[in-house]
């Protein structure tokens, strides 16, 4: 591998105008996630409707018109849950609609339960969520930036490039490496941006506790994981664009795969195919939630997702580089 060539391809990759749009889109996604979390950042308590029976007076916080407001901490400590019963009708009570019913003959009384809710931006809890949300769009951005890289070169400058470096397989593999590194670097930059926003938000309107070495290690691993997902997605975009010479083909394929995933995933025979659609393993890798309720069509571990995605990317790259070596160039 020639460092000189890699350096050139990386410059070529980052100098494109699509990079401006891509980065802006990425920044907006990160900003959007953070603004959403920041807007929710508060300590104002939640009031929840409830039907109660036999709540002692000591739990009363205050009255809201005719409706008592009980302290959540207080009622949670009661021996018999105060909220059982069967709703028989709805009544208007102090401007709110309550279900009314009976429980063992006792009348259920409408009430409001006040619970202290801490939704303050708390970087040590919220940053990992932000990274999860950013991961999937980064996979998409990576495919977009990779596919436009070679598709644009075909028919515009690949012939001239090959006049300076005729080793085609090397050229293709270097471009592959460049789009992988490029996507990983952009993902890293956006993760750092997200971290900065989260930190500023937490410091000004939330809590910054819990950021110890262990936490940093975990978030570094999270960041590395979404960088990896973006990096593995890139050669897929590059290969599809090279084979079809169309950026839209690669981008369309990405969206198409979601639909195919939904259709195939709904059938018993389609599930094994859905499992091996690259978009399935890449999203699994980016989101990193595995459990009985999170189904990736049979991919059960992060390592499994990584393996499936990597093998597909490797196979497609091998195929495309062989094709690239033989095909006629303008």
């Amino acid at each position: 591998m020639s460092m000189r060539l890699l350096n050139t391809e990386l410059r070529r990759y980052f100098s494109r105008r699509v990079m401006v749009g891509g980065l802006l889109a990425g920044l907006f996604i990160v900003l959007g996630v953070n603004i959403f979390q920041l807007a929710r950042s508060s300590t104002s308590p939640d009031l929840n409707d409830a039907l109660t029976v036999g709540v002692p007076q000591k739990c009363l916080v205050r009255m809201s018109g005719p409706t008592p407001i009980y302290s959540g901490a207080c009622v949670d400590g009661l021996a018999n849950g105060p909220f059982e019963g069967q709703v028989e009708e709805h009544i208007d009570h102090g401007g709110r609609s309550f279900g009314v019913g009976v429980n063992n003959g006792a009348e259920l009384k409408p009430a409001l339960i006040e619970r202290a809710q801490d939704r303050r931006l708390h970087i040590s809890a919220t940053f990992s969520k932000a990274l999860k949300i950013i991961g999937a769009p980064m996979v998409f951005l990576s495919i977009l930036l990779a596919s436009s890289f070679l598709a644009a070169d075909f028919g515009t400058s690949i012939g001239t490039q090959l006049m300076f470096e005729p080793r085609r397989r090397l050229t293709y593999l270097t471009k592959t490496l460049a789009v992988m590194i490029g996507a990983a670097l952009i993902t890293l930059a956006l993760a750092v941006f997200a971290f900065a926003l989260q930190y500023i938000g937490s410091a000004t309107r939330g809590i910054t506790t819990g950021m110890d070495g262990h936490w940093f290690g975990l978030r570094l691993a999270d960041t590395g994981r979404i960088m990896l997902a973006a990096a593995i997605a890139a050669p897929l975009g590059l290969a599809v664009a090279a084979l079809t010479k169309r950026t839209v083909a690669a981008v369309g394929m990405f969206f198409g795969m979601y639909i195919v995933l939904g259709v195939l995933g709904g059938t018993s025979w389609g599930r094994p195919i859905a499992k091996y659609l690259p978009i399935n393993s890449l999203t699994a890798l980016a989101v990193n939630e595995f459990g009985p309720n999170t189904n990736w069509f049979g991919i059960r571990t992060m390592l499994g997702a990584l393996m499936v995605a990597s093998i597909i990317a490797l196979a497609l790259t091998a195929l495309t580089s062989a094709w690239f070596e033989r095909r006629e160039m303008r």
Partner: protein, 313 residues
């Protein structure tokens, strides 16, 4: 000394819409080192196909090509720095500036960045070097292509119709550039479909038609092959007068044609051209213009290939 390029039995068949097009058909060609070698052929004769095979943009169907005695495309990497080629319209990334395009190419081979500015100056693109390639005129694109070829300071330059898109001053500059490069000891292999282009610049020339070599030799040898020239003959008056004149010349055994504008054309050896005037004067017709038509490559071809193809057009 080994040849700059030697081509043996080169054949390239394209499959286009279920049809086989034999673009190059058993071509043998040897381009010696030094001098300017013209590669002459009408549109579709197979010039670009031959050049694309030389630079490895596609594989030949059969035959062998050696550049500086190295078989290509297999050993292209070992000689690529000695070969600069401009194939058809130059290809550059449209959204990068001319300078950026060249700078990336230079970087990929580790050439110093100062060379970029120096070759931009050579082709007169310094002022517009910062503009996007997409905004360049055809001539500027062509110049940038030449600049990219010069970037390597190659021993062999392959230029496929470099005059395309250039204005007359640009064509003159291109000719001068080729001569300068040749004077520096470089080999220039230049294709064209315009005879005058080759005539004014080249030392040697090869003519191809339908993928086959028709003739190769020095420019003098090739041009002297032709025996007749074509003249435009104008007589004052309406088309009836012209038809009269044409009939009269035909009756006397001259070869008379009409061009696409209806003007009368006569094929005649140069030293007998004045006899047209004399003949028509005898019939009371006065010639207002008698001018040689620039000898086109196609005309040279028709003559050169008439024998090979049994006189068929």
């Amino acid at each position: 000394m080994t040849a700059a390029i030697s081509i043996e039995a080169l054949t390239k068949t394209y499959a286009a819409r279920g049809q086989q097009v034999r673009a190059v058909d058993g071509l043998d060609l040897e381009i010696p080192q030094g001098g300017i070698f013209g590669f002459l052929g009408a549109n579709g004769a197979g010039k670009t196909t031959t050049i694309r095979a030389i630079v490895g943009h596609m594989r030949a169907t059969s035959g062998t090509i050696r550049v500086f005695d190295m078989p290509v495309p297999k050993h292209l990497p070992s000689i690529i720095d000695r070969v600069g080629a401009l194939v058809e319209a130059p290809l550059f990334f449209p959204n990068f500036s001319g300078r950026k395009n060249l700078s990336l190419l230079a970087r990929s081979r580790g050439f110093p960045q100062e060379r970029v500015d120096s070759v931009l100056a050579t082709v007169g693109l310094t002022d517009r070097a910062g503009s996007r390639f997409a905004t360049y005129s055809l001539g500027m694109k062509q110049r940038l292509g030449v600049a990219s070829v010069l970037l390597k300071d190659p021993d062999l330059l392959i230029l496929d119709e470099p005059a395309n898109g250039l204005d007359p001053p640009g064509i003159l500059e291109m000719r001068k550039l080729m001569r300068d490069l040749s004077a520096q000891g470089k080999t220039v292999f230049v294709s064209s479909h315009i005879l005058s282009e080759i005539e004014h610049t080249c030392d040697r020339v090869a003519i191809i038609a339908r993928g086959k070599l028709v003739r190769t030799g020095s420019v003098q040898e090739i041009l002297s092959t032709g025996t007749t020239s074509r003249y435009t003959v104008k007589v004052p008056g309406d088309s009836a007068v012209r038809d009269n004149a044409a009939r009269s010349l035909l009756a006397a055994g001259w070869s008379v044609f009409a061009d696409e504008h209806g003007e009368m054309l006569v094929d005649v050896a140069a030293e007998r051209a004045h006899e047209i005037t004399a003949h028509l004067a005898n019939d009371g017709l006065w010639v207002s213009e008698l001018a040689p038509v620039a000898r086109t490559l196609e005309a040279a071809f028709l003559e050169l290939t008439a024998d090979a193809q049994g006189g068929a057009q």
